[in-house]
Every structure is written in C-alpha cells, then in structure tokens.
Amino acid sequence: MSLVLVLPIIIPMLSGVLTLLAFRSRIAQRAVSMAGSVALALAAVLLLAEVAEAGIRVDRIGNWPAPYGITLVADLFSAVMIVLTALIGAAVAFYSLVSIDQRRETFGYHPLFQFLIMGVCGAFLTGDLFNLYVWFEVMLMSSFVLMALGAERRQMEGAIKYVTLNLLSSALFLAALGLLYGTAGTLNMADLARKFATLTTPESQGLVTTLGMLFLVAFGIKAGLFPMFFWLPASYHTPPAAVSAVFSGLLTKVGVYALIRVFTLIFIHDAALVQTVLLVIAGLTMVTGVLGAVAQYDFRRLLSFHIVSQIGYALMGLGIGSALALGGAVYFIFHVSVSKAALFLVSGLTQRLHGTYDLKQLGGLYRSQPVLALLFLVPALSLAGLPPLSGFFAKLSLVRAGLEAGQYLSVAVALGVSLLTLFSMIKIWVEAFWKPLPETGVTVAVPIREWLPPLVLLAAVAIGLGLGAGPAFALASRAGAQLLDPAAYIAAVLPEVR
C-alpha cells in the first residue's frame, strides 16, 4: 500500500512536531516550516497525478475494513483541494517569515500553522463523517490559538466571536452526527450513501432530508453562508495578515467542501427541494456579502465581506447541481482561494508600508510601489472576473451552467454581484493606490523585496489558471462528473458490497 494518501497528513504533522521540538531556535523552526511546505506541495502534486490517472484512491487506515475503520478517500475534488491547501500553505509560510513578529514565533506560530494545515488536509481526505468532525476540531483548535496569538485587544474581541460561533457550529455538527448514526448505524460516507440509496418510504426520505438540513446549518456556519456569516467579517481582520490569508484561503473552503461532499454523495434524494434552498441561500449570500463589502473602509474588512460573497458562487454551483456547475464550483473554489489569499497578503504589505489598514489613510501606492500595485491588480481583477484571468472562466462556467439549467434569477444575481465586486475592487484601487497619500498618512521606509515572492507565486497561479483554462477546466469538469457519480465512490470504498 502506498503512502500517497497519508503523506498530506503526515508531512505537516511531522513539520509541526519538529518545530515543536525545536521551539528554542527560531531559525530551526523556520527551516522546518519551509522544508515541510515544499514537501507537502510535492506530495500534493503526486496525489493529484495519481488520482487523475488511476481514479479514486482509497486507504484503510490501520488495515481495518470499511465501513468499520476509518478510510481515507481521494477523488479528484479532494486531490485538487489538497493541491490548493499545499499552494496556499506554502505561500503563507514563506510570507510569515518576513511578516510574523518574533514574539508570535517564539510562542508557537510555526507548529500551530503546520497543525492547521494538517487539519485542513485531513478534512479533505477523510471518507468518514465522524472523522471529518475530528479534523474540523484539529483545524479549529489551531485556528483559535492562531487567531488569539499575540493577545492584542482587537484580536481578543475577534477571537471571542470566532470561537463562540464555531463552537456552536461544532455542537450542531456533533448533534447531527448523533442523529444520523442513530438513523443509519454508520458514519462512513460511502456506506451512508449506499444505505440511503435504497430508501423507499416518503417518511424515511423526509427524515433524511431533515438530517441533511441540520448538516447544512452546521457546515453553513463554517462556510460563512447567509444568514450565519456575521462571525467572519467580525474576526478575520484582527489577526496578522498572514493568518487572515490562510484562514480566508482555506477555512471557509473546508465548510464548502463538506457541503458539496454530503450533498452530492449522501443527501441526494430530495434534490428539487435541497437545490432550491441552496440556490436561495447562495443568492442571498452573494448579495449581502458584496453589499457589506461596498460599505467598508477597512482593507481587510472589505476583503472579509468578499469572502462571504464569493462563497455564494461556489454554493450556486452546488445548487444547480449539473456536472458543468459542479466542475465550475471546483474551479471557482480554487481560483477564489488563491486570489483572496493574495489580496490579504497585499493588505499586510500595505499595512507594513503605511502602518494602517484604513483605506482613507492609504494612498499613492501606485506611484511609490508600482510592482505591488500590479500584484494587487492581478488577483483583484481576477476576483471581479475580467478575462483572461481565472475568475472570468470560473464565473463563465457557472453562468453557463445556470443558463442551461434555466436558473435565470441566480444567473442575474451572480452577474450583478460581479459588477459590485468590480466596483469594490476599484474602490480599493482608487483609495490605496491611485489617490495621493493624505497628509495625515504616515510612510514607513521598509525594503519590500523579500515580501514579494509569495505574492508573485499566487498572482502567477491566477494568471496561469486563466491562460491554461482549457486543461485546468477539463480537470475540474472531470472532478464535477466524478461528484455526480456516487456509485463509483461507493464501489471504490466498499468493493466487496454489491
């Protein structure tokens, strides 16, 4: 049995352990963190290559047969998400070297970061709902401490909201798991899908749909869906920019991943009702998120509201539910995570240069830092959906899927929100880059050269995804088609059951 499925979990775990053992030496911690990030990226690409070639890969941890033991399952969607995790993890780990202060580093920033990445990878790979809960907790524990690390007053305020709402969501998730286990007697995803495929009576279907809605609420809080998103813009702007970037790039996406997984594999019976609910929520999420963003004058709060708005697009893909839409959602999640993480990293750099995130106090960056301005424009325009950047193709596929399915209202909302997204990106551009620096603004002279490589990496991915949209989208479509075929997933995990 090859280790290829376990490596994305073991590598960050080992990096975390080694940084923990080397807590006295900042240099050793940094070296381990770098090496671990690079190794994880290699392992992720290896996994994607293997899954793309050989189909769904399954690993039975501890040699316990499914559905009794815990299975790790990697289909294309999981593998793509692992690659995304490794990419954002590496970019942020490199950015952290220059941006995280010494105090945070000595208090365990690097081990926590690695354990966070481990939790995210585990959540993407597990084939068991209870195990998913455990990975959520691993991820949340690390994120709680990363959020509060440094103990600034603002951070504490954000952390309290973040922790409370996420604990509530975990409690709901756990309660839903208990009910589900009581109903089906298993929590293995493939086994659940198999058992629920043979439901006949309307009563039992109603029960399963109700359980599905419980999961929608639990995952919806984590993903930041309307009307449960308010913890997100209240907290994401408080920790250091590197932490905001990794949270925005990965944590809400785990919630979306979980939603897509359970609503394409397990709760697929009452499709008409579920898809209507999802589409309504998706539309409201898009609109409220972007309206919140337009009103903000804090760089990172504006971006935080955008995270919410963009989650709506991914959910719209799930709500439409065709192979094209799901493929579009996969492509969209990848694109938006990369662009959003890049924008948060840019915001951290502007803060370093001018000492504030307040857009009114910023200005003149186009003249003083033209490279930075370019590195802002690429992800910003990509997010707004301008060709030939990745966002254009992501939105194009979702809009096309919506038109094919006759969901004209959702398409109209998505297009309108796109326009507002462009508007708010232009607002940042005008305030921070174009207008002259206000007289009250301060400038700190710092060399920014070593801050740029992670930004260049992410911008390059945003451009590459757009220019190479053909092959990238072909892969995403295959992932979408795979999601629509639960039978293949079940056959891969439970080969002996027919």
Binding site: M1, L14, L21, D59, G62
Partner: protein
C-alpha cells in the same frame, strides 16, 4: 505556597503516583487504563510539586520543557504509524511480535504499545504545559 506538610507528602507521593501511572499504562493493554489516563496520572505528581515548591522548581525536576514531551509523543505516534506502513500494510496497521526480554521471557509487543506511549507522553506534556503556565500566570 510554603507548607511543610504539602512538601513532605509530595515527596512521598511522587514515586507512588509515577509507579501507579506505569501500572495503568501496562494494564491498558487489555483492561481499562492506557496511555491517556496514565499520562494524566503521571502529570499529577509534577503538578503537586509545582504547587508545593513553585513552578520553576517543577521545571527543574522535569528537565525537559513540557512542550518537548508533546513533540516526542507525537513523534512516537507517527513512528508507530510508519512502522506499520513500512511493512507493506496501510498507515497505522498494528505489527505484533514476540520480543525476548531478559528475566521475563518472550513478551508480546507491538506498534500499538509505541502508539500508546506516544499518547502517554503527549497527554503528560499538554497537561503540564497548561498547569505550569497557569502557575506562572499568578
């Protein structure tokens, strides 16, 4: 705190509690017990010591920083998993074999014992990290 009674009892209790934690660890093989409780019980005497003599003294007795114990424990867990994977089976598969121990004959040992030892050290380290940090916060 500076109480003669507490300081004296702590000195007598420490070896007893540590022995008891080793007993619990071994018993967990087939009966209630195991690495988790044993790690908690092993942390208790050091917590007592830090109350009786102060946190700096407890750190001196420990020699290694509690965070190091967490790292060591997790390292053992990964090692136990990789040993299983090294034999061509999935990650974390249990490997069993008879290991000759002088004086006891052949002992049935396996990678789960190593895993459990990792849990033991991890729980020990986490508990003491928290307790000592709180001792020092006052």
């Amino acid at each position: 705190m500076n109480s003669l009674i507490l300081q004296t009892t702590t000195r007598y209790l420490m070896p007893l509690l540590l022995l008891f934690s080793i007993f619990l660890f071994g018993r967990g093989h087939n009966e209630p017990g195991g690495g988790f409780v044993a790690g908690l019980v092993a942390a208790a005497p050091f917590a007592l010591y830090s109350i009786a003599y102060g946190a700096p003294a407890a750190r001196r007795v420990l020699r290694l920083d509690p965070r190091g114990f967490i790292g060591l424990g997790l390292l053992l867990i990964v090692l136990a998993g990789l040993l299983g994977a090294g034999s061509g089976q999935p990650f974390l598969s249990g490997l069993w074999g008879y290991v000759p121990v002088p004086g006891l004959g052949a002992v049935d040992l396996g990678t789960p014992v190593l895993f459990d030892l990792g849990v033991y050290l991890g729980v020990f380290g986490v508990t003491l990290t928290i307790i000592l940090a709180m001792e020092e916060a006052d």
